[in-house]
């Protein structure tokens, strides 16, 4: 049980089994299977149109899957109507009811669930304080700022003590500074309540910053799952690596545990035999003036100052490579350079089986 007396629900573990959802001929979500541990904070990441909002709508019960099952603590949710699910959903838009004031908006769910007016007042008061809006209960919703609106929407969802909290790009309409502040607030609230949370976003930086676990969705399919660190250090799939900003891909093939290229570059790998690609993040590449075993000779063709780093484009035998190096690195366009790929910063993926 949770030690926090404010919380009267227990976070649920969530299971999605082979979920498929079609709209007409197009498949929005295809055979998606996913487990979320109770109390976990997961970011569902993907570009717009990848099916992440559809997945969220199915979890909330606003859509029903064509195939597959959705479970909360092992119990199927499919036959349970939206309003009966112990799930709260915050949309991209605040969707505050304009005919109600702030406190009435926050208390809406409790009112719908038949709580006594006195209990609602008390709970709303404490909830508003937790989202730093204490004292704004009597405000009309039209008088709130964008950040305040989303705080009210968040309070309105959390006051129901949901066993699963769904956030559908809740801060994408706010400016960068406010977005960071709201992310911190969501983290704080999660630490207090330990509610299982699924946070949908298309922004990988936001996903990395807010969540303990990232689920990447591309074209309606699961394209990788793991900790934020994993997505940077050893991305689970080639698409995941690309989505997280890997620009360097070296083509080759794997034969009995060795990734090799026609130009002599080789790496040991656990990947199976066949055509393959080695990926490496731009910030992992090491440059030096002199040749070393296994380094790739190249020529700098472009240098772009990017504030905290310098982006160098180099033509090498392995094609165009991009390296992010310290901003004060001396770089001469046209100068020759030797690029080294550290063993532990590269990942090899089979390409013919994808």
């Amino acid at each position: 049980m949770n030690a926090n007396p404010l919380i009267d629900s227990v976070a649920a573990s969530v299971g999605l089994t082979d979920i498929t959802k079609r709209f007409g001929d197009t498949s929005a979500v295809t055979a998606l299977s996913l487990q979320l541990a109770a109390g976990s904070f997961t970011a569902l990441l993907g570009p717009s149109g990848c099916g992440k909002s559809t997945t969220l709508a199915m979890l909330a019960g606003l859509l029903s899957p064509d195939e597959g099952d959705i479970t909360l603590d092992g119990t199927s949710m499919l036959r349970i109507a939206v309003e009966k699910r112990p799930v709260s959903l915050v949309f991209q838009k605040p969707l505050l009811f304009p005919h109600l004031d702030v406190a009435q908006n926050v208390g809406f769910g409790l009112r719908m669930r038949g709580f006594a007016a006195r209990d609602i007042t008390v709970k709303v008061q404490s909830m508003l304080e937790r989202v730093q809006l204490g004292g704004l209960g009597a405000r009309r919703v039209g008088e709130l700022s964008g950040g305040q609106e989303q705080r009210v929407a968040l309070a309105r969802a959390l006051i129901l003590a949901p066993r699963l909290l769904l956030l559908d790009e809740p801060f994408s309409q706010l400016d960068a500074e406010l977005r960071a502040e709201m992310r911190a607030l969501v983290r704080t609230l999660h630490n207090e309540t330990q509610t299982t949370t699924l946070f949908v976003t298309h922004d990988q930086i936001e996903a990395v910053e807010v969540a303990d676990q990232i689920v990447l969705m591309l074209d309606g399919r699961l394209a990788g799952k793991g900790s934020p660190e994993l997505f940077y250090q050893s991305p689970p799939t080639l698409q995941a690596a690309r989505f997280f900003g890997v620009t360097n891909e070296i083509c080759g093939s794997v034969c009995s545990g060795i990734f090799s290229t026609p130009f002599g570059f080789a790496r040991p790998t656990a990947a199976a035999d066949g055509d393959a690609v080695l990926v490496v993040r731009p910030e992992a590449l090491r440059l030096s003036d002199c040749a070393a075993p296994d380094s790739l000779p190249g020529k700098i063709v472009a240098a772009r100052f990017a504030g905290t780093y310098l982006a160098l484009e180099m033509t090498t035998v392995a094609g165009l490579l991009v390296a992010h190096v310290a901003a004060d690195t001396p770089a001469q366009i046209g100068g020759s350079v030797h690029v080294r790929v550290p063993v532990d910063a590269s990942t090899v993926f089979r390409t013919d089986s994808a």
């Binding site: 799930v87 959903l89 304009p98 809406f108 769910g109 719908m112 129901l160």
Partner: protein, 280 residues
């Protein structure tokens, strides 16, 4: 003050100076015809070439309040029928408007046209056909029958106005309400209807006004047994008693004017779904 401000202000003044006489003209055109009506209602004798009534009297008022004239029961009948029609047409128009405004289905245009057809086809023609059924089911000559027949011209209006309101309504409000634990009925009551409040008030008002001035349908289905104000007014006009006709005329005209003025106040400062017929 900058030149831009000055220019904007002078342009605003010019628009204002054009707008006010225009507004005055419209109001005059609408209200001036009521002046002789009022004058007739309080005059005993007013013959050519006198500019003003020659003799004033309270006969008009006495006619209205006289139990034998049936005017006060007629007023009550009109109000009861008007409110019933307004409520019923709005309730029927709500789901119909939702279908027109929200769903994109094959033949939506056709449905819209069919909904409006009772307005386009003369009511007399429709009613003559339908009257047979009213007689068969014992609805002829009853207040209920009159209410039912008056739904013919009002439901299309209700569905069209509410269709426009639904087209402008963000249905995510309803999804949000459902996700917060409100069932379909509670979502309708606590979210959709409050959001559509201005459109619903307007719809009810329109339907009440249509019902209030309905003559031919009331006469045909009410068979003269359901006496609403327009029926009494026509009777008074037919009897060439100008004072009585004018007094009744005033009684017919005033409530709608008051209602429209009140609704203007009710609708002011309303947020939520706006009413725009443009999107349909």
């Amino acid at each position: 003050m900058t030149t831009v401000d000055a220019e904007r202000q002078s342009r605003g003044l010019r628009r204002l100076s054009l707008r006010q006489p225009l507004l005055a003209l419209i109001i005059a055109a609408l209200l001036l015809p009521l002046v002789p009506l009022l004058a007739w209602a309080v005059s005993e004798r007013w013959r050519y070439p006198a500019l003003f009534p020659q003799k004033l009297s309270t006969r008009g008022l006495r006619i209205i309040t006289d139990p034998r004239s049936q005017v006060l029961p007629g007023l009550l009948t009109s109000v009861v029928i008007g409110i019933s029609v307004a409520v019923a047409a709005t309730l029927i128009g709500l789901p119909a408007g939702r279908a027109i405004g929200v769903y994109r289905f094959r033949g939506r245009r056709l449905v819209q046209f069919l909904l409006l057809s009772p307005v386009i086809v003369p009511g007399l023609a429709v009613t003559l056909g339908i009257q047979v059924f009213f007689i068969r089911y014992g609805l002829a000559g009853t207040t209920l029958g009159v209410v039912l027949v008056q739904l013919l011209p009002t439901v299309p209006y209700a569905a069209t106005v509410l269709g426009a309101a639904f087209a402008n309504l963000d249905l995510d409000y309803e999804r949000q309400a459902r996700a917060l634990g409100a069932g379909p009925m509670r979502t309708l009551l606590f979210v959709t209807i409050p959001l559509l409040r201005p459109a619903l008030i307007l719809t009810g008002l329109f339907c009440f006004l249509i019902s209030w001035s309905e003559y031919i349908l009331t006469l045909l289905v009410g068979t003269g047994q359901v006496q609403t104000l327009p029926l009494l007014l026509f009777a008074a006009i037919g009897s060439s008693d100008t004072t009585a006709a004018a007094a009744l005329g005033v009684l017919v005209v005033l409530p709608p004017l008051i209602l429209v003025a009140l609704s203007g106040r009710l609708l002011r400062g309303q947020s939520g779904a706006t009413i725009g017929l443009g999107r349909l």
